[in-house]
């Protein structure tokens, strides 16, 4: 039973509470860094690391944090891990990747997903469950980043992971600029809404048939 619960804490972040397509949180970095799959993966990894670590620490010290000043406490914990991730990325990742992520690595501090999980999950739950929750939501966000960035990279520059998709394709570079990001995310959100609506319609019909 306990194992099943743990599994649920982990998988709910990928589908039921997907940060990008269901909660629509943390949109700024998801649009800015998704010009190529490599950037999307790096951003997702960095945010997942911060999310898991801050969830863990906050849920350990949760009984010592008074309710009135919990937000500043969360921000300091998150900012510490963001600084760590920034220094680690500068040390171990290629400089051009760091340059293309730019200010969006320090801006993980104000990413709503991390604050939201700290406030609504880690502040109320045990450390182990909080780590699983953070890992699940982080993975869900990384997967969505990969989806958006692969669409934008294929259409906008005709490559995937830097490899050419087709010789004859003429890339539409507007897709890797600002307007393309908004339109791709809007259409993807519309697509997921359409699937949800169709599913609920089907179940409604099934119920009516049974009656």
């Amino acid at each position: 039973m306990a194992e099943q619960n743990n599994l649920k804490e982990f998988t709910k972040g990928i589908f039921q509470y997907n940060p990008m397509f269901v909660l629509v949180l943390g949109i700024c970095p998801s649009l800015a860094v998704t010009t190529s799959v490599k950037n999307g993966l790096a951003m997702g990894g960095a945010a997942t690391f911060v999310l898991v670590c801050s969830n863990f620490i906050i849920s350990i010290v949760r009984s010592y944090i008074p309710r009135e000043i919990r937000i500043p406490c969360f921000i300091v914990v998150i900012a510490a891990f963001v600084t760590m991730v920034e220094l680690l990325m500068k040390a171990y990742l290629p400089p051009e990747l760091n340059a293309s992520l730019g200010i969006f690595i320090p801006l993980i501090v104000v990413n709503c997903i991390i604050m939201y999980r700290a406030e609504s999950f880690a502040y109320k739950n045990k450390p182990f469950a909080s780590v699983l929750d953070g890992a699940g939501l982080g993975l869900g966000w990384t997967l969505s980043l990969c989806l958006v960035s692969s669409i934008r990279e294929i259409v906008g520059s005709g490559t995937l992971f830097g490899l050419k998709v087709s010789e004859s394709y003429q890339p539409a570079s507007v897709m890797i600029m600002a307007p393309g990001a908004f339109i791709v995310l809007g259409l993807l959100l519309g697509f997921f809404n359409w699937r949800k609506l169709r599913k609920s319609e089907k179940s409604m019909k099934a119920v009516m048939k049974n009656d």
Binding site: C28, I103, V109, N111, V174, A178, F182, I183, G186, G190
Partner: protein, 212 residues
């Protein structure tokens, strides 16, 4: 001097609009742009906080974080004179400055202008987690291609706030009309807002290249 300031404002309001070309501050942009009146309130509050926080973070950057003789902390701990504190304290110090500033503005407005305070309501505390505020602080100091002066940094913060307000106003006008239009059910709400923003960004792309 005036020419330079005008150039910064035009560049940051139209050419490099924070919302439409830098993807900063999208959460409040989508969340509070349903009505024109609340869009103006939020825009004004953000402009105010952005201007003040650009000024204060510039001071923090130049006198606390940067290595050199001007560093205040180096007077107590001499070893900081060569290293500076940019790498380790940048994020934490900026976010704390912004959070304190928002709290201070909230208290001052409640005492001095209760009417304005009432109309801004919940938008004020939300500004702390607006990534445009932290973004302009970073772009003014550590991530700026050249070292900006105090006035330039403050003007850039003010201009970024005005750019945010312009984008919010345009968007709220569009969304007030959208409420009356028959949209496919799966695109209602956030998806159509994103597509409209994309088209607006396409229009703003026409400004690119005007200012270097």
């Amino acid at each position: 001097m005036i020419k330079e300031i005008a150039l910064i404002i035009v560049s940051v309001v139209f050419v490099n609009n924070f919302v439409l070309s830098k993807f900063l501050g999208l959460c409040p942009f989508l969340g509070v742009s349903q009505k024109t009146s609340s869009a103006i309130g939020m825009g004004a509050a953000v402009t105010f906080v952005m201007t003040l926080s650009s000024a204060i973070t510039w001071i923090v950057y130049n006198f606390v974080l940067l290595p050199g003789d001007a560093n205040i902390i180096a007077k107590i701990f001499p070893s900081i004179r060569e290293l500076g504190l940019i790498e380790v304290l940048k994020t934490i110090s900026y976010i704390l400055v912004i959070a304190t500033l928002v709290q201070l503005v909230e208290m001052m407005l409640r005492k001095m202008a209760p009417a304005l305070y009432e109309s801004l309501g919940i938008y004020l505390p939300l500004i702390t987690t607006n990534c445009a505020v932290l973004g302009v602080a970073l772009l003014n100091t550590t991530d700026s291609p050249k070292h900006l002066g105090f006035l330039q940094a403050t003007v850039q913060g003010f201009g970024a706030g005005i750019g945010f307000m312009v984008a919010m106003l345009l968007m709220s006008g569009i969304r007030e009309r959208l409420a009356l239009v028959n949209i496919p059910p799966s695109l209602r709400g956030v998806p159509i807002a994103f597509i409209c923003t994309g088209l607006m960004a396409l229009a703003f792309l026409g400004f690119s290249g005007m200012v270097q």
